[in-house]
């Protein structure tokens, strides 16, 4: 029995170590939570941090910066939200829908700025995007799909059938696919959707599109983007142009993307955080959409995937990988 009590004591000691972290003196406290580590979500976080630094809030010098990732586990996300609610920072930044929902469920007073949430009204984070009213506002990452469909036609002018790979389990992807199915016919393309419920299934999903499509478009789907190389491999082998919804994927082998990158979304989020630190009320700040887009091209991929990019297109590009 004594030994058993020691087990409790060990755990209690480990827990009480946590208690001692409270006393860190800093002027402003920004706490940031994200559901999982992922290049795009990490870029958002970096954008927020950089803007805070530019505004004079540097970690350790006037800023206490707390970051937690739930590592994909919903129960952990709930505990992170509760920890932040208890720590009462000046602003909580919540990246991606599930994290944002748990944070909003756990505090009604601390200012919350969400980021990389596609449909904040559908996710019930705010009731009115223009006038949030409560303690919550943020930046959505709703993709400008119409512009992307136009880009597909500029890269592959004779494309008639567009392949799309997405995870039917991701809320954001479902709404994107619905948008694509509405917008692609306007650009003269039919849509073939392949499903991948986890990143290990992306390769098979991409292969299933070979012979059925003239171009592949990958929306900002966490599952598919995390295995983007698999799609590029198939595109290279079969000579099908792969386009992406986010510019980070161009470096990984997509021919083109007219997107926003998540770093800029993070910067936009950071500016909202700074406004709140300066005294603005989140309830008075409208939810912001993607403000900055730019064209990224990858000429190497264009060659392997068998498309010729026009000089006009190359001239417009912000970044060209040769």
């Amino acid at each position: 029995m004594i030994a058993q009590r020691m087990g409790f004591a060990a755990l209690a000691a480990a827990v009480s170590l946590g208690f001692s972290t409270l006393a860190v003196a800093a002027d402003k406290h920004v706490a940031i939570t994200q559901i999982v580590e992922h290049p795009a979500l990490d870029a958002v976080r970096k954008g927020v941090k950089d803007v805070l630094a530019e505004a004079g809030y540097i970690e350790g010098k006037g800023l206490k910066w707390s970051f937690e990732s739930a590592q994909g586990n919903a129960a952990t996300a709930a505990q992170i939200a509760k920890k932040f609610a208890g720590d009462a920072p000046d602003v909580i930044v919540a990246i991606a829908t599930p994290s944002a929902q748990t944070v909003v469920a756990n505090t009604k007073t601390i200012p919350v700025v969400f980021s990389a949430v596609t449909d904040p009204v559908g996710a019930k984070l705010v009731s009115d995007a223009m006038h949030p009213g409560k303690n919550v506002t943020g930046v959505t990452d709703m993709t400008p799909i119409a512009a992307h469909m136009a880009l597909v036609k500029r890269v592959v002018p004779n494309a008639k059938r567009l392949g799309v790979i997405s995870n039917p389990g991701e809320a954001n992807s479902v709404s994107l696919v619905t948008l694509i199915e509405a917008e692609a016919p306007k650009a003269g393309m039919s849509v073939v959707v392949a499903a991948a419920t986890k990143s290990g299934e992306v390769l098979a999903a991409a292969r299933s599109l070979v012979g059925k499509v003239d171009a592949i478009y990958i929306p900002t789907d966490n599952t598919v983007v995390s295995a983007f190389e698999a799609v590029v491999k198939v595109g290279n082998e079969a000579g099908i142009a792969v386009l992406a919804g986010d510019t980070d994927s161009v470096k990984r082998g997509a021919v083109a993307a007219a997107g926003f990158n998540y770093y800029d979304i993070g910067r936009q989020t950071g500016h909202m955080v700074v406004k709140i630190l300066h005294g603005a009320n989140p309830g008075d700040m409208a939810v912001e959409g993607v403000a900055k887009t730019d064209l990224h091209l990858n000429l190497k991929s264009a060659k392997t995937q068998g498309v010729t990019l026009s000089d006009a297109l190359i001239g417009e590009a912000k970044d060209v990988i040769r």
Binding site: L11, L17, G18, K82
Partner: protein
Amino acid sequence: MSQIAFLGAIEVGLLFALVALGVYLSFRVLQFPDLTVDGSFPLGAAVCASLIVVEVNPYLASLAAAVAGAGAGMVTAWLNVRLKILHLLASILTMIALYSINLRIMGRPNIALLGETTVFTPLEALGEAVDMPTYVVLPIALFGLVILVKLALDWFLNSEVGLAMRATGVNPRMARAQGIHTNRYILGGMALSNALVALAGALFAQSQGAADVTLGVGVIVVGLAAVIGGEAVMNTATVFRATLACIIGSILYRLAVAGALNADMLGLKAQDLNLITAVLVTLAMVLPGVRMPFRGKRKGGMTS
């Protein structure tokens, strides 16, 4: 650790204690390694959330979630006892099927419950009336519920039916020789187990503001950790103690996570969370004098 984080860990621990009790029923009582749990937890959340958003009474919705979970458990048991599919595989089949079924039930991957009337809404109102914050009221209410479920389960497992179920798990051949219809008890036990898990899923969705198809990730791991962790820190010779150990194990696991979340000052970062949690749970299990079976294996192990 703040008071909110501490009570929050207790709250999540109590919610997952229902999962632990369910896992105890399948793994320990029936000796049926059941991974259905990863599907029945989000199933409960999905059924409950879908009903709540069409204005069904949240208590009825939670009950419906438990019934749906029971159905999922019965499918797994049926695959095993009728179609003779290995128990582990049968439960995996149900688990992966439930992913699609959950998407169908919700019609989308995420149903938000923020601002909806849930089973916790009257409790929050009650808390406001007596000037007690929600983060105190919820753990108290859940504690009451979990103890109630535990005592009901204790009573059941000591009843004639419960004893037959335990016999089914311990020695099915002997049980059959005594005239026990073991298949029936496996079906019933698995239904009860997954009903508890689905109820936990429904309550979790309501307290955290959303049902999401990804809710099930790792639920079985957490449930098992709670059951085994509980067994490691206390004697589980009787049913009363064994079910109590499930609850204690679940709360300890959540306190370990909360501790890990507060371990920043040791130079540990967010990405180390799962590792720290694992280390804390290991410490809690190993320090109470190292359980004999482990020690035996270590000495007589393969030391070539």
